[in-house]
């Protein structure tokens, strides 16, 4: 059951998007988000939706993964939509008693929800098409300038790599321990809040114990291979920008320009 978590799940593939330089993928994702927020009219967001469909098509990630990644944000969308619809003042469309729905409110609600949906789906594509290792490598390089102001960039990215690497392991381990305790009759599905919290003890204690053991072993293994921090460390996979990265950047910039133009026309 824990296996079904998809956020940050990598789908191996050979599409042009998979092959892009991870640094450019991060930049392009940021530009995409900028584009979504620049769009001030619901119609100019059509560019955002079109881009999304296009990118998913090119990447070969099944479309139903979009709905899967969007499920967790549905409550947020409903909440913001309700707020926008009922509390933005302007020209009234309907009016029942004290409840008033305005044109501006409706527009804003649509704008915000489409924005959030595109934002989540777009950034999910980054993690669907980029392996966690590539991602942290790219983040480390992109953040490199911060080293000048004494930010421990290498250490942070190493921590991130390790954390990401161990998420599946921990999920598997949790699954295993949960099953083992269930086999001994542990009841995790019924009872009040206190009872449920108590039922977690038989899972959390072994999980903590094994995490510490694992951390110890990993530290030892890293030292055995002479790990001494980032200074002078070289990479097995050097990152290079290629044509397709520059093309992707151009497409992103053009679409931002298109959005700005649409804003102008529709305003």
């Amino acid at each position: 059951m824990l296996r079904d978590i998809t956020i940050g799940q990598y789908f191996p593939g050979q599409s042009p998007i998979h092959k892009m330089d991870p640094r450019m993928k991060i930049i392009a994702t940021l530009l995409y988000i900028v584009m979504l927020f620049v769009a001030s009219h619901p119609l100019s967001l059509i560019v955002g939706i079109a881009m999304l469909v296009l990118m998913y098509r090119v990447s070969g990630i099944p479309m139903k993964m979009i709905t899967k990644s969007l499920k967790p944000v549905v409550p947020i969308i409903i909440f913001t939509s309700v707020l926008n619809i009922f509390f933005v003042s302007g020209d009234p469309l309907f009016q029942f008693g004290f409840i008033e729905i305005t044109r501006q409110g409706l527009m804003l609600a649509i704008l915000m929800s489409v924005r959030i949906l595109c934002l989540i789906a777009g950034s999910s594509l980054l993690t669907y098409t980029t392996s966690p290792i590539e991602l942290t490598d790219a983040i480390e390089i992109l953040l490199n300038p911060l080293k000048k102001v004494k930010v421990p960039v290498h250490e942070l990215s190493m921590m991130m790599t390790i954390a990401l690497r161990f998420i599946p392991t921990l999920i598997e381990e949790t699954d295993k321990i949960m099953n083992a305790q269930k086999a001994r009759g542990a009841d995790m599905e019924s009872g009040g809040l206190m009872q449920r919290a108590k039922a977690l003890v038989p899972i959390l204690v072994p999980l903590f114990v094994s995490s510490f053991r694992r951390a110890d072993e990993l530290a030892m293994a890293m030292e055995c291979r002479c790990y001494r921090g980032g200074d002078g460390r070289t990479r097995m996979k050097q990152l290079h920008y290629s044509h397709r990265d520059w093309i992707a950047l151009c497409i992103m910039l053009v679409s931002i320009a298109a959005v700005l133009l649409l804003n102008r026309i529709l305003a």
Binding site: I177, A180, K182, A183, R184, G185, A186, D187
Partner: protein, 289 residues
């Protein structure tokens, strides 16, 4: 009547993603009461998936499982009772220990069954005796014990529930030969005393030969063979084709027979081999092939 029966049981992991995998495929077997059965197969052959179906931790993608003739998934509220009937000891069970003392940890299962204090105490002590844990060790924290001791505490935790069917997933993985023989001996003793059904998943043909009456061989998500030890080991050729070997001692005797010595090749343990050798030597002169 069969205590566990499966009908066309299949399980598919991660259906609808690129990682889809059929772990067990159309399995129909019957496990008779009171037997000791060895389950053998390669890593990834579906053994662990199969045994997790036996106590309802995994729900079949298709097919049915009957425990004591009752359809396990017909009434989900009864699942917990089935878990008390079919005790499952996982691989490396020592990683599931969590209580302050071994005593409390062993008592976790019986307590969940809702037994009264006296009964729990009796069962904990009985289970501890089976895996030869001393009174002093019972009161210690499980995290102070050695690896082998921890494992025995974890096994006692399931024994204390007195399951009708006891399933152990590689109970001897990672132990030295002495610890291995000790745990297998204790499980066998428990089986003889309680007359319950025991399934042991194992990689070692030698171990299986020592304790099992029947062997279930899994290969590529399917049941390859399910028969008595003699009948399974008699098909050494097929076994080695799927990458499993009969016990070394059996191989020795098969080779002897091939070279013309008048020996039985159905020898699976060192003890049987000793008897067979003595019989052979007593014949004296005829031995020369």
């Amino acid at each position: 009547m069969a205590v566990i029966k499966t009908e066309n049981l299949s399980h598919v992991y991660s259906e609808g993603t690129p990682f889809v995998k059929t772990a067990i495929d159309n399995i129909s077997i019957e496990i008779e009461e009171g037997q000791m059965i060895g389950v053998i197969g390669h890593t990834g052959s579906g053994k662990s998936t199969l045994i997790q179906h036996f106590n309802g931790l995994l729900q079949p993608t298709s097919g049915k499982i009957y425990i004591d003739g009752e359809d396990m998934w017909a009434d989900k509220s009864k699942l917990r009772d089935i878990r008390f009937k079919v005790g499952l000891v996982f691989q490396y069970p020592e990683y599931q220990l969590f209580e302050e003392t071994c005593y409390k940890d062993i008592a976790f299962g019986p307590k969940n069954m809702g037994l009264d204090e006296g009964e729990i105490d009796r069962r904990v002590r009985e289970a501890a005796a089976f895996v030869s844990l001393s009174e002093e060790q019972l009161m210690k924290s499980p995290f102070e014990l050695s690896g082998g001791q921890k494992r025995r505490v974890a096994i006692a935790g399931v024994l204390a529930m007195k399951p009708k069917v006891l399933i152990l997933d590689e109970p001897t993985a990672g132990l030295d030969p002495k610890g291995r023989d000790r745990i297998l001996g204790q499980i066998k003793e428990y089986h003889q005393e309680e007359k319950n059904t025991v399934l042991i998943v194992s990689h070692s043909m030698e171990d299986v030969a020592k304790f099992a009456q029947k062997v279930l061989v899994m290969n590529r998500s399917k049941v390859f063979l399910y028969d008595s030890v003699e009948n399974v080991f008699a098909r050494a050729g097929e076994l080695s084709q799927i990458g499993l070997a009969v016990p070394q001692i059996t191989q020795v005797f098969m080779e002897l027979k091939k070279r013309g010595y008048p020996v039985n090749s159905n020898v699976y343990t060192i003890e049987a081999a000793k008897k067979e050798m003595i019989r052979l030597l007593e014949k004296g002169g005829e031995v020369r092939a």
